[in-house]
C-alpha cells in the first residue's frame, strides 16, 4: 500500500494535479472541522445579540475559536492549489488563458477579506474575554460581516468559471456544471440583505441568507471536487477535446 | 407548414391568461365587506392554480410533451414536490401558529 503510494508520488505523470486535488479535499475537511465543530462560527452566531451577548458568545467559544482558527492559519495556504487547479482546468479549455488567470487572481484575493479577516478578528476577540462588551460586539460584527458580506469576488469568480465552461469546446466540464455556477453566483446576491437586517430570515444567520445559500454552496463544492477528480482522470496533456472517462475508472 | 403546432400555442396562452384572470375573481370573492381575511380556501386554490399553470408551461411551452419519458416524469415529480412543499409549509405553519 505505502510502496504503491510512493511509486505514484515519484512516477505518476499526473502527480502535480493529484497533489492539488488532495490539497482541496484536505482543506475542506479542515475547514469543516474548524468552522462547524471547533469555533461554532458555522452556523453563524446570532446577529441580534446585544453587547453583553456578544461578549458571552466569545467567552463560551473561547478555546474553540482559538484552536479552530489556529488550524485555519496553518492550512489556509491550501486554497492556493485549489485555485490553481481550477485555473488549470480553464487553461485546458479551448478559450483564452485570461479566464484562468482572472479566476486565479479573484479567488486568491477573496481569501483575505472573505475568510482570514474573520479568523483574525475572532481570535482577537477571544484573546481577551474581559474586553469591554461594546468592543467585543464591534469585533463580532466585523468578523461575521466581512465573512458573509464579501460577495463580489465570489460572484464574479463563479461567473468567469461559468462563461469559460459554456463556451469551451474541449468538454472539460459538462455544461450543466456551468449553469450550476450561475446558481452559486446568485447565492452571493441572496446573501446581500445580511448587511441590513439584525434578525429574521435575511440576517447573516437567517434561513434564506445563510441556510439555503450554504446548502447550494455545499452542493456546488461537492460537485466541483468530483468533477475536478474526473478531469484529472481524463487528462491526456493534449490540447484537443478531453477524452471520456475510462471504463474501469468510472466503475 | 407547421399548423399542428401553431394552433396549440394560442389556446395554451388563452387558458393560462384566463387562469390568471380567475385570481381577480378569487380575490374579490374572498374579501368580506372590503376587509382582507385569512382564507385557507383561497390559499389552497391560488397555489393549486399556479401549479397547474406551471405544469401547462412545462408541457406545452417548454415542449416536455415531446420529450423523453424521463423528463416528463421528472417535471411531473417536481410539480408534485412543489405541491407537497408549499401545502406542507402552509399547513405546518398553521398548526404551529
Amino acid at each position: 500500500m505505502s510502496s504503491r503510494f510512493i511509486w505514484h508520488c515519484r512516477n505518476n505523470p499526473k502527480r502535480e494535479l493529484w497533489f492539488a486535488w488532495w490539497a482541496t479535499v484536505v482543506f475542506y475537511n479542515f475547514f469543516t472541522v474548524s468552522f462547524f465543530i471547533l469555533s461554532h462560527t458555522q452556523p453563524p452566531a446570532n446577529p441580534a445579540l446585544d453587547a453583553q451577548g456578544a461578549a458571552q458568545w466569545f467567552e463560551k467559544n473561547h478555546y474553540g475559536i482559538l484552536l479552530g482558527f489556529a488550524i485555519m492559519f496553518l492550512v489556509t495556504g491550501m486554497t492556493a492549489p485549489q485555485n490553481a487547479l481550477i485555473a488549470y482546468s480553464m487553461r485546458r479549455m479551448s478559450i483564452t488563458p485570461a479566464f484562468g488567470y482572472s479566476y486565479l487572481v479573484l479567488y486568491s484575493l477573496s481569501a483575505v477579506p472573505g475568510m482570514l479577516l474573520l479568523c483574525i478578528v475572532l481570535t482577537v476577540g477571544a484573546l481577551r474575554p474581559d474586553r469591554k462588551p461594546e468592543l467585543q460586539q464591534w469585533l463580532f460584527d466585523l468578523a461575521f460581516l466581512s465573512y458573509v458580506g464579501t460577495m463580489g469576488v465570489f460572484l464574479i469568480g463563479s461567473l468567469v468559471w461559468m462563461l469559460a465552461i459554456l463556451i469551451d469546446k474541449n468538454r472539460v466540464f459538462p455544461k450543466w456544471f456551468g449553469y450550476l455556477n450561475l446558481c452559486n453566483a446568485l447565492t452571493e446576491v441572496v446573501v446581500s440583505p445580511a448587511w441590513i437586517f439584525h434578525n429574521g430570515v435575511f440576517a447573516w444567520n437567517g434561513l434564506i441568507a445563510w441556510w439555503i445559500d450554504m446548502v447550494v454552496f455545499g452542493v456546488y463544492t461537492g460537485v466541483f471536487i468530483t468533477l475536478l477528480r474526473q478531469m484529472i482522470i481524463r487528462e491526456d496533456f493534449g490540447t484537443g477535446p478531453l477524452p471520456d472517462l475510462p471504463r474501469e475508472a468510472a466503475s | 407548414m407547421n399548423t399542428a403546432f401553431e394552433k396549440r400555442l394560442p389556446i395554451v396562452w388563452s387558458a393560462l391568461s384566463l387562469m390568471t384572470l380567475a385570481y381577480l375573481w378569487l380575490d374579490h370573492t374572498a374579501d368580506k365587506a372590503g376587509v382582507r381575511t385569512a382564507s385557507t380556501v383561497v390559499t389552497v386554490s391560488a397555489i393549486l392554480i399556479a401549479l397547474i399553470k406551471v405544469r401547462i408551461i412545462f408541457r406545452e411551452f417548454m415542449e416536455v410533451r415531446h420529450a423523453p419519458l424521463l423528463l416528463c416524469r421528472l417535471t411531473d415529480a417536481w410539480v408534485l414536490m412543489m405541491a407537497v412543499c408549499l401545502f406542507g409549509a402552509h399547513f405546518i405553519g398553521l398548526l404551529r401558529s
Partner: protein, 235 residues
C-alpha cells in the same frame, strides 16, 4: 528565445528592500523588545502616546515597501516554470500565494497606524487596535508556509539531468515551513514561548523569514548567473 532583460534589476531590489525593512524594523519601538500581550490597556495607550512619531514613520515605511518581495517571488515563479513539470500548477500556486503574505502584513500595518492615529482615545480602543495589529502580524504565516512547501514539492518534482535548484533548497524550505508553523497557534497563549512576543511566534518566525529571504536571494542569484553564463556560451 528566453527574455531575461530586467531580471537583474528586479533581483537587486531585494537587498535594497532588505535594508529598508531592517531600518523600519528597528525604528518601530515595539519590535526590538516585542510588546507583551499582557500589557495593560493603560500601558499600551501610554506606549502609543509616547512613541507616536517613531511608530508612524516606521509603519509608513513598511506600508510603502512591504510588497517589495513580490517581484522577487515572481523571479522564483519564472524559475519554477523552467522546471521539468507536466503542468503549470506549481507556478500558479506560487502566484496565488505571493499576494497573500503582503496583504496580511498590510492589514497589520493599517491597524498599527490606526492605533497611532489618535493616541489620546480611550485606552481600551488603542489596546484593541494593538491586539488586532499584533495578531495579524504574527499569524501572517499561512501563505509563507504554503510557498515553502510548494517550492520544496516543485524542486522534488523537477526531475531532469540538471535541475533548476539543488535538492538541499527543497529540504531547507521544508524546514522553514516547519519553523513558521508554531506562529499560527499564537492565539492560545498570552504569555510564555507561544505568546506573540514569545520565542516561537516572534523570534523563530521572524528570523526564519529573514534567513529564508537571504538564502533564497543567494540561490536565485546563483541560478540566474549560471543561466546567463550558459546562454552566453550557447550564443
Amino acid at each position: 528565445m528566453r527574455r531575461t532583460d530586467g531580471e537583474l534589476i528586479l533581483f537587486w531590489t531585494l537587498p535594497a528592500t532588505g535594508l529598508i525593512w531592517i531600518a523600519a524594523f528597528f525604528l518601530f519601538p515595539g519590535f526590538v523588545h516585542p510588546m507583551s500581550p499582557t500589557m495593560s490597556a493603560a500601558a499600551v495607550a501610554a506606549f502609543y502616546r509616547e512613541n507616536t512619531g517613531r511608530i508612524r514613520v516606521s509603519m509608513i515605511l513598511f506600508n510603502w515597501f512591504c510588497v517589495c518581495l513580490i517581484p522577487v517571488l515572481m523571479l522564483l515563479v519564472v524559475q519554477m516554470r523552467k522546471m521539468a513539470h507536466r503542468t503549470p500548477i506549481f507556478s500558479y500556486c506560487m502566484v496565488a500565494c505571493a499576494a497573500g503574505g503582503p496583504a496580511i502584513f498590510l492589514l497589520a500595518n493599517l491597524f498599527w497606524l490606526l492605533a497611532a492615529f489618535r493616541p489620546e482615545r480611550a485606552p481600551e480602543l488603542t489596546q484593541m487596535y494593538n491586539d488586532l495589529a499584533w495578531v495579524t502580524f504574527t499569524i501572517q504565516v499561512p501563505y509563507l508556509i504554503m510557498q515553502s512547501v510548494l517550492l520544496a514539492l516543485a524542486i522534488y518534482c523537477d526531475r531532469q539531468a540538471r535541475p533548476v535548484f539543488k535538492p538541499w533548497v527543497a529540504h531547507f524550505n521544508l524546514l522553514v515551513a516547519a519553523a513558521l508553523a508554531p506562529a499560527a497557534f499564537t492565539g492560545l497563549a498570552l504569555g510564555g514561548p507561544m505568546a506573540w512576543d514569545g520565542l516561537l511566534p516572534f523570534w523563530v518566525k521572524n528570523i526564519t523569514i529573514a534567513i529564508w529571504i537571504v538564502v533564497m536571494g543567494v540561490v536565485i542569484a546563483q541560478t540566474i548567473r549560471r543561466q546567463r553564463v550558459e546562454s552566453e556560451v550557447a550564443a
